[in-house]
Structure formats: C-alpha cells, structure tokens
C-alpha cells in the first residue's frame, strides 16, 4: 500500500495495488462518508480496498479536504469541495495506473460525492452506491435526531462540524435527479429497505439507467456514536460491495 498527498489540495491518499494477474480493466476510487460515519467506516474501507485489489485494479482511498489526514478544518468542509476532490481523485488514480476507466463506490454521503463527481464524465464505468443518501433533507433530519450542538451557525454532530453552507448544499441533494452518464452502470447496495432507496431504484429504472439494487441485510447504524469509539465491520456487506464493484 502506498501513501501520498495529491492534487492541488494536497489530499491524503493511499493506493492498494492490484494483486490479480493480468492488466486490470479499471481503477477504483472509494469515497468515504461524513463525520462519525467516516470514523466508523475507515477500517471497513481498508478491507474493501484489500479485497477489491485481489480481483480488480488499483484502489484509491483518500481524505477530502478538512477530513482525516488531509489539510483543512472540519468547519471548512463543503459538498462542492468533496465533489471536486473526488474528481481530482479519479484523475489521480487514472494517471498513476495508466488506466482510462474507473469504478467507484461510496457509503452514505460518500455515495453522493461519487455520484455527483461522475456527472459529465465518460470514464466512470460502474458506480456502487452503498446505503446512499438519496435525499439530503432526510440525512439532515437524521443528524438532527442524533443530537446537534450548535456553535454559531455550525452544527456539531457526534464530534464533527457541519457548517451552514454544507447543510445548505446537502439539503439540495436529491440523487433521483442525478444525470447518470451513458457509460455508467449504477448498483445500489442497501443494508435495509426504505422508501428513499425504492424511490431511487424507480427513478433510475424510469430513466433506463443500467444497474440494479441489491439488498444485503446488515447494520445500517453508521452515524451512531457509542462511548468507546467502536467501528463497524459488516462482513457480508463488504463482500457484497466488492461483488457489485468487480462484477
């Protein structure tokens, strides 16, 4: 595994090189979720990267500006920056690997970053949206339920700040309005059923987007904050995301 900083924002990234023989058809970019969900998902993403690399191309994981080991403060996080960073990450993995096709996966708000970054691109051949945030308003309501500590106009949720601008951007999200490039297959992998996932499935079907929805029952509790810093490793789901990505 290689670690480095990349792009104009000097984002922290890592590449897990492919172990499979032969030339892979595509590189992979994984997009982390937001806040406490990022903390709880980090090791699961490492496992994802390791498993994917055994069957497919190189896997890039990275921290958006203002998160993880990347520069910036949490208060500076915006969705627009996340989407831009994801675009930079796609370019980076292509340049490093020499591959011109990319597959992507993202959990929750990371799925939104992946989806929005793919709009207008012709190099994303497959996108796996893992328990995606379909409607931003619903996500903000969830954060609110977790318990918000307001500091000025910023919300602090489970230890992470969400600025007014970030919330405004998230509020406008509706993945059902996503413009999916013709070259892109969309696989929604969900841990449980809800109306939003169903609405997204129907919207994609109505627009003849290639793809499917797969249900793999597992813990959906990404934003729950326990008092000891537990993380989630939903093995069946991790395997399901890998299958969806490398199929």
């Amino acid at each position: 595994m290689e670690f480095f900083y990349f792009g104009p924002g000097h984002l922290f990234g890592s590449i897990t090189p492919p172990l499979a023989r032969g030339t892979p058809s595509a590189a992979v970019v994984l997009c982390y979720p937001f806040g406490q969900e990022y903390m709880r998902a980090h090791r699961a993403y490492r496992q994802l990267a390791t498993l994917i690399s055994r069957m497919a191309g190189p896997v890039l994981r990275f921290d958006y500006f203002g998160t993880g080991d990347s520069p910036g403060e949490g208060e500076e996080v915006t969705l627009q920056r996340w989407v831009e960073d994801t675009g930079v990450a796609i370019d980076e993995v292509r340049q490093r690997s020499g591959l011109d096709r990319v597959r992507m996966a993202g959990l929750r708000l990371g799925a939104v970053a992946a989806a929005l970054a793919s709009e207008g691109r012709d190099d994303v051949e497959r996108m796996v949206l893992w328990d995606p945030v379909i409607r931003g308003r619903a996500f903000l309501d969830e954060l609110d339920k977790e318990g918000v500590t307001p500091v000025g106009s910023t919300w602090w949720v489970n230890g992470f700040p969400a600025s007014e601008r970030l919330r405004r951007e998230v509020d406008e999200v509706d993945l059902c309005r996503l413009t999916v490039p013709a070259a892109t297959q969309v696989v929604q992998v969900i841990s449980h059923r809800n109306v939003e996932f169903e609405r997204f499935s129907q919207a994609m079907e109505a627009r003849s987007v290639r793809g499917e929805t797969r249900l793999i029952p597992s813990s959906p509790n990404w934003n729950y904050s326990d008092d000891v810093g537990g993380i989630l490793l939903p093995r069946e789901m991790i395997r399901g995301v890998v299958d969806a990505l490398v199929a």
Partner: protein, 290 residues
C-alpha cells in the same frame, strides 16, 4: 512521490516505521528542534490515527504550531496498518511498535526525548512504553487506569441519594437484592477494543513510582464517561497514596466530557490543555531532571 504537505503554520509528512505501519509526522514551520521532545499520539482502541472525532489531528497540528513535532500512527491491525506478524501479544506488540516509532523519529528529528499521549487503550500502552524505554520523559493519559477509592464510593452513594427515587435501588444493590443491569452487547458488525482488566493497583502504583523516580512528567485527564471508576478531581492521588508525585503530576478532570470528546469545547480543553502543559513543562533542554 509527494509525501509532504505544507499548511500555513505546520507541515505534515508521511513517515512509515517499518512492517507496513503507517504514520504522519507533523512538523513546526521552522522544522524540528532536537532539544525539544517529540509527542507521539497513540491509537485509542480501534480508532485509526486521526483519533476520536479527529482530535489527534487537531492536537498534532496545535502542538506543531507551538513548535513541537507530533507523530500519529496506526498500530498493527488498526487503521491502515496490517495485522502484526511479530507473534507478540497485543500489549507487548504495541510497546515494541512505540519503541520502534521513537527510534525512527529520533533519526528524523534528532530528538531523543518523547512524550506519549494516549486516550483509553493508548493511555495504557503509553504507560507501559514509558516503563520500557527511558527516552520517554512525559506521558499524557486520557481515561487511563482507574481504581475506586473510599471517597469514590462515598461520593457515588451521596450523589445517588440526592435523587430519593433511587434510594430503594441503591439500598437493594447494597443488600444484594437487586443485580446491576447487564449491558446488552452491540450489534454483531461492531468491533470495539477488547479491554482486559486493569493490572493490579499495586503494580500500576509501582510503575508510577518508577516513572516519577526517572523524572517523567505525567498529565492525567479523566472524563465523565469514567464516572463508574473515577468521580472526583483528586482521585488520582488517592489511588496511589504511596507515590510521591512531587511536582511531576498534572490533573485535569472533565466531569461533563464524554470519553471520545464529541463536544467541541471538550476537544478544545484537551487540545489546548495538553499543548499548554507540553509548552510549560518541556522548554528547550528541560524534562530530563527529576
């Protein structure tokens, strides 16, 4: 390959320490100063090196802004680091990795003095590493070892009695008529650090006595989440009555804070408090004398 990033007042550099262990060193704008100690920020449980609520990153950057090198890394099997192949048990393996990290940092920075910061399991690992390696001149333990004292029980009972509805339950527990609630396990996908019992109290006291004898400075911080074991400011002294800490011990009690520090003001108290303690206790050339 780009392994260095500069921010306004600090820069960061990816610094592996061998066996695939991953870390990031945070440097002051002027670079490392060999006569200042380096702060190692250890993993908390199974949380990767950015720390609970990203506090380890904030602490590292704050320390670097104050002129101190700070290093955060992932132990074997945590975060980005692969599982250990050393054959050592987890505790011994972590001590060995901390020692190895100090050696790498000694080469990188020129400093041979280290401060170990750890929350929870990191506090325990830091304590054991400080005992094992004389290069350690300071430790910061957030929610480290705790042993109930007479005053602890007294305060706990009095606080419960303030709420008269709990009197029957308290009496029932005392009389053994009511068993304490069994905490339900978390869901099967969740992974938390397995916590062995604390070592015997006398063993830890002897360890602190050795550290004090060496002149190791100690910062002990306890949050309200430890209230089942630690419930008043000076309990640390009462836990180790035979140890004369002299002026080497500094306590910070945050009864309203949670263990993983989700509240921004608690994050600030810990980050600023630890930085101030480091700056005060470890000026150029200090920290070696008892």
């Amino acid at each position: 390959m780009d392994t260095v990033v500069k921010e306004s007042a600090v820069s960061e550099e990816i610094l592996p320490i061998g066996d695939g262990l991953v870390g990031v060193v945070c440097l002051p704008a002027g670079g490392p100063e060999a006569d200042l100690p380096v702060v190692l920020i250890l993993n908390s449980g199974v949380i990767h090196r950015v720390g609970a609520c990203r506090v380890s990153v904030k602490l590292a950057r704050n320390l670097a802004s104050a002129g101190y090198v700070a290093y955060r890394f992932d132990h074997s099997g945590i975060g980005d680091s692969p599982p250990s192949r050393s054959g050592l048990d987890v505790d011994a393996g972590q001590v060995s990795e901390i020692v190895k990290a100090m050696t790498v940092l000694e080469h990188r920075t020129g400093s041979s003095r280290f401060i170990l910061y750890g929350l929870c399991s990191g506090a325990r690992a830091g304590f054991q590493a400080a005992l094992a390696d004389s290069r350690v001149v300071g430790i910061v333990q957030v929610d480290g070892f705790a042993y109930r004292t007479f005053r602890y029980y007294l305060l706990k009972s009095l606080r419960r009695l303030r709420h008269f509805r709990t009197i029957p339950r308290v009496l029932g527990r005392w009389l053994g008529l009511i068993k304490p609630p069994v905490r339900d396990g978390t869901d099967g996908d969740m992974w938390v650090q397995e916590w062995p019992d604390y070592p015997p109290q006398e063993e830890v006291a002897a360890g602190y006595a050795r550290l004090v004898e060496r002149g190791v400075r100690i910062r002990a911080i306890y949050t309200g989440s430890w209230k089942d074991e630690y419930n008043y400011h000076g309990q640390f002294f009462d836990m180790y009555p035979g140890v004369d800490f002299g002026g080497l011990l500094s306590l910070q009690y945050l009864p309203h804070a949670q263990h993983i520090l989700p509240h921004p003001s608690d994050q600030g108290r810990v980050v600023e408090g630890v930085t101030e303690w480091v700056v005060t206790e470890f000026t150029h050339g200090s920290g070696t004398e008892a």
